[in-house]
Symmetry: C2
C-alpha cells in the first residue's frame, strides 16, 4: 500500500489560509482535510468528528500527555490541536491529508513528519497583509501593529518550509498547491519507495 | 532578473519522449525548447536555428574542444549535441527551457547544471516498452533484445533524477510535467533567491 502525502498549509495570520483551503475542498475532493480537536463548546450545526473533535479539558490534557497531539495551542482558554491518530490513519490508508495550521504549529508537525510537504502561503506584499488585517474589523492601531510584527516574524520562518505560494489570487494559489501535490507524487524518492519489492531489487542490482 | 528553469526530460529509448515533448509544445508555449546542434545534412524543410543548428564536423569538434557543448554523442557518423550558449542565454533571460535528451546526455548536463530539474519518463511497464520498440518496425530479435537490455540499464539511472513521470497516457504525463514546472517555481529556495535584495536582507535578519 502506497502511503499518502502529509501536506501542511500554513502562513501568517491574515494571509487567507482558510479561504484557500475552502476553495481547495471543491477543487481537490480526493484530499482528506484534517479535523482539529478543541475544548471549546460545539456551536449550532457543528458535528463531532466533522468540524472538530470535541474534547473536555481533561481529555485534551491526557491526549497531550501521551503524545497524541501533533501540535496544539491554547487560545482564549481553549485548547486547539491536531490529533496524531487521524493523520497517521489517513496517510497509512494511502490517502493524502492536508493540515491548515498556524506557522508555529506547522514547525511542531515537522518534528514528527519531516517527510511532509510544507507549503507557506505568502501575502503578495506586507501592505496587502496589513489591509487584510485592518479590513477584518475594529482592531486598534496597537493590535494591528502587533499583528504585523508577528506576521513579519512568521514570514522569517519560511526557511523551514518546502514551498512558497503567493496568495495573489485564490484560483492561482489553489492551482499552485494542486501542482505541488501532483509533483510531489512524482518525486523520484516516492516513486522508488512505492515500487513493488521485486522491481526495487532489480533496480538496486543495477546500482 | 529571475533566472528561468532548466528542465531535462529524459528516459529510455522508446518511452515516448519525442511525442510527449511535441504535445507539451502546444500545452506550454511559454517554454523554450532547446535546439540541438548536428553535423548531419539539413533535410528538406529544416531550418538552421529552428530544427537544428547545422555545423560542419570541424565546427562541431571545435565547439566540443572549447567546452561549448553541454553534452554530445556520435550516431551513425554524425555528431548531435546541446549547445551551452543557447541554454544559458535562455535561463539568464528569465525563461524556462526544456531539453529532451537521452539518459546519458542528461547526466552530462547535470554535471554543469546540478540545479536543473531532471525528469525521467518511465514506461508503464517493461512489457509496454518492448511493444513500442517492436512496434517501430522491422528490427531483428537480437536488436530488440539489445535495446531492452539498454533500456533496463537506463531505468537503473533514475536515481540521478528528481522526478519520475509514468507515460501511461500522454495527456496525463504532460499534466504531470506541467505540475512539476509550476511546483518547481514555488520551491522555497527559488522563491527566496528571487526576492529583491532589500527583502532578503530583512528575512536574513530574522534568522
Amino acid at each position: 500500500m502506497n502511503k499518502g502525502l502529509l501536506i501542511v498549509l500554513s502562513g501568517p495570520s491574515g494571509v487567507g489560509k482558510g479561504t484557500v483551503c475552502s476553495v481547495l475542498r471543491h477543487k481537490m475532493p480526493e484530499l482528506v482535510y484534517s479535523v482539529s480537536a478543541t475544548t471549546r463548546q460545539p456551536r449550532q450545526g457543528e458535528t463531532d468528528g466533522i468540524n472538530y473533535f470535541f474534547k473536555s479539558r481533561d481529555q485534551f490534557q491526557e491526549l497531550i500527555a501521551r503524545g497524541a497531539m501533533l501540535e496544539y495551542a491554547e487560545y482564549v482558554d481553549n485548547y486547539y490541536g491536531t490529533p496524531r491518530d487521524f493523520v497517521e490513519q489517513t496517510i497509512n490508508s494511502g490517502k493524502d491529508i492536508i493540515l491548515e495550521i498556524e506557522v508555529q504549529g506547522a514547525l511542531k508537525v515537522k518534528e514528527t513528519f519531516p517527510q511532509g510537504v510544507f507549503i507557506f502561503l505568502m501575502p503578495p506584499s506586507l501592505d496587502v497583509l496589513k489591509q487584510r488585517i485592518v479590513g477584518r474589523g475594529t482592531e486598534s492601531q496597537d493590535v494591528i501593529d502587533s499583528r504585523m510584527s508577528v506576521a513579519a516574524e512568521e514570514i522569517g520562518l519560511i526557511r523551514y518550509y518546502d514551498y512558497a505560494v503567493v496568495n495573489d489570487e485564490i484560483e492561482a494559489a489553489c492551482h499552485r498547491i494542486q501542482s505541488i501535490v501532483t509533483a510531489e507524487h512524482c518525486r523520484k524518492e516516492r516513486f522508488l519507495a512505492n515500487l513493488p519489492e521485486a522491481v526495487k531489487t532489480a533496480a538496486s542490482e543495477k546500482a
